[in-house]
Symmetry: C2
């Protein structure tokens, strides 16, 4: 069985041209943008050409359905506001090419999918979360993007040609090919990673309330400075996490808001994000305990008060063991000693689809670990190797 | 000699009603607002009643001029966007009452002034800085407020009735009464503070540049996190300042901007303000050296880079020794053991006017040290004591 790498790369590059950023290989194709809809319509034609029935569900997930019960392969074709060309798109074009190869080689039936809004213009992996029943349509419709456009108004764009939700029972399992978006495969010179699990994530905002005051006339010993409480908190958890975490655990403060945010005023309020990710739910629990108790301890010591917003959380998701084994065997055959098992630090549609059916993922390397960036890229041979491993797993 | 405390308090309260916030005793009367112009026109009438010639200079400083060579007494009647009723206004009404008392008691000639934009809608102590030649009119005209309104367009409001700049040579010295805006007098139960000096201030922004990255897939050891550099910097200077500062030295980070400011992205850039104040210029130098060298050291260690914006600085200003002595003698007579010498941690018009003539300041307590806030207040007896000490100094 031979894959058609020329056709595969040609389609991948054609998809890249829809919403091209004009900067390197960058792409600007956020969910429901004109470019996103143009890309989905292009995909729809490709599905027809491959003998698959195009099918938009009510939230914009685009399926290419085989007639009979089938395997489902895909990912998403929407991008970040400043996105790379492979993130998501690779998995969809892999699905398309595998459906064509399998048909040409009398292999099993394969359906393809491009989920909508994986990149979170409105929610988090919105389209697959709704299909998997994790997010209700009612709740989803209330979601708004940063320009205050609602998901319910955005999805009206497809209401003319959308049909019902697809019955997940038609599919025996889900495979998603994706770039790693991290440095591990690239640094180890591995061409393929078989994903063991997708890490869990917890995310909230912490607010320290102090006393807004004149920065010239308020002596240091009289200040109740909300910024200083954030400072102490962040430093303390860095130290306290040391005996709890593994090398793949991550934690991030990516958002900070100081009030009133003026040079000459001692900050009265400091709001900041705290997000942590790990593959072990118990470790996520331990970290949460450290975060909450440290914030309370710092507030008590500093005379500030502390509030926590509602915590958003996703549990770690194990990939299907049987599918993992098939993928590992295929990888060992196609690229012996150049593959490894790997944990996914990023969230993917597969985490939602695992609720519906056996699901597995295959990663290819990201050059320098760069993603969510116009300069995101992967060596061509790695793209082809990833596709070949999937073809081997499906057809042999 | 008796002061007319009823007339003094009545004028102070009448001025408070112009631009009243409707919240406690709060006032909203920023420079060149309708309320500010109404207050100045009201003052202008009061000056005429007191036998003083009202005189707007080209930048909106309002003088009430005695016919002959005189002492100048005053402050400013503009307020913060959410201001207190005494800050500035007290000094202007003190000047008005002292001019009246002196006239009624055949004392020395007194002129009164309300400087424009002491609170910095456009610049920093804008009106008195221009009059003192510290800021040129050309530069001042280019200043813009946060709504991008220029000082040159704002001051057109008074172009019809403004005259030339007043010749500073008409004045033999400047006295400014002001609330302390800090806690020292109130905590010590002192009714009056005679200012020895106005602290110097240095202010800049520091920018750490790191590497923007995915917060899920970028391992901790691979991150170059600009937020973490700010964290280490702030903690280190807190420790390193300990052997350098005095109890009245202050330093503040009141502004922070993280980029791109998203929960799931490792910060690529962190910009924050660093402001420090002290009465000793050499100590300000030492602190600046610690700030710059620590930021460079942290950047080197973290793999970030660091930039500093242009530093704004004002040197500490000594109050005139002869005027201080006269005020101290008057305080010792009027309120023995209930006054002290004090340093001003806030900037005042007197710091600019000291370039033109001998200048001195008298503080009265701020309840709980609160200022730049609707709840700013001072006990009535302290207001009267402050005025009485000034009257004693001038008349006896």
């Amino acid at each position: 069985m031979n894959i058609n790498s020329k056709r595969f790369l040609s389609d991948l590059n054609e998809l890249r041209s829809i919403g091209s950023a004009g900067v390197g290989k960058g792409v600007i194709r956020p969910a429901y943008s004109e470019a996103d809809m143009a890309a989905r319509n292009w995909l729809s034609g490709k599905f027809s050409d491959a003998g698959l029935a195009p099918h938009y569900d009510p939230v914009g997930n685009l399926f290419g359905l085989a007639k009979e019960s089938s395997i489902l392969i895909g990912s998403h074709s929407d991008t970040q506001p400043q996105g790379g060309w492979l993130d998501g798109a690779l998995g969809v074009i892999c699905g398309l090419e595998l459906a064509r190869i399998s048909r040409e080689n009398d292999g099993p039936a394969i359906s393809v999918v491009s989920f909508q809004d994986e990149e979170g213009r409105f929610g988090v992996t919105t389209g697959s979360a709704i299909w998997a029943g994790i997010l209700s349509l009612e709740e989803a419709d209330k979601l708004i993007d940063k320009d205050r456009i609602s998901f319910s108004s955005a999805r009206k764009k497809i209401s003319k040609f959308s049909k019902d939700f697809v019955d997940p029972k038609r599919f025996s399992g889900f495979l998603e090919c994706h770039i790693e978006q991290g440095p591990w495969l690239y640094e180890a010179d591995h061409t393929v990673g078989i994903v063991t699990d997708i890490v869990g994530i917890r995310d909230m905002r912490i607010i320290f309330n102090g006393e807004q005051n004149h920065a010239g006339t308020t002596p240091m010993h009289r200040r109740i400075d909300a910024y200083q409480s954030m400072l102490s908190f962040s430093q303390l958890i860095n130290a306290r996490f040391r005996n709890v975490v593994t090398p793949s655990t991550v934690w991030t403060t990516g958002h900070v808001k100081i009030e009133p945010d003026a040079h000459s005023i001692v900050p009265g309020k400091c709001t900041f994000s705290m997000q942590w990710r790990d593959g072990d739910n118990q470790r996520l629990d331990k970290m949460e305990h450290i975060i909450r108790s440290t914030a309370i301890e710092v507030a008590k010591r500093d005379g500030t008060s502390v509030d926590f917003t509602k915590m958003h959380g996703l549990k770690p998701v194990q990939m299907d063991e049987h599918l993992q084994k098939i993928l590992c065997n295929a990888a060992e055959k196609i690229c012996p000693n150049r593959w490894r098992n790997i944990q996914s630090g990023a969230l993917h549609d597969a985490a939602n689809i695992a609720k519906l059916m056996p699901a597995a993922m295959l990663f290819v390397p990201s050059i320098d670990g760069i993603s969510h960036n116009f300069s995101e890229d992967t060596n061509e041979q790695d793209l082809i190797d990833g596709l070949t491993v999937l073809a081997e797993a499906i057809l042999n």
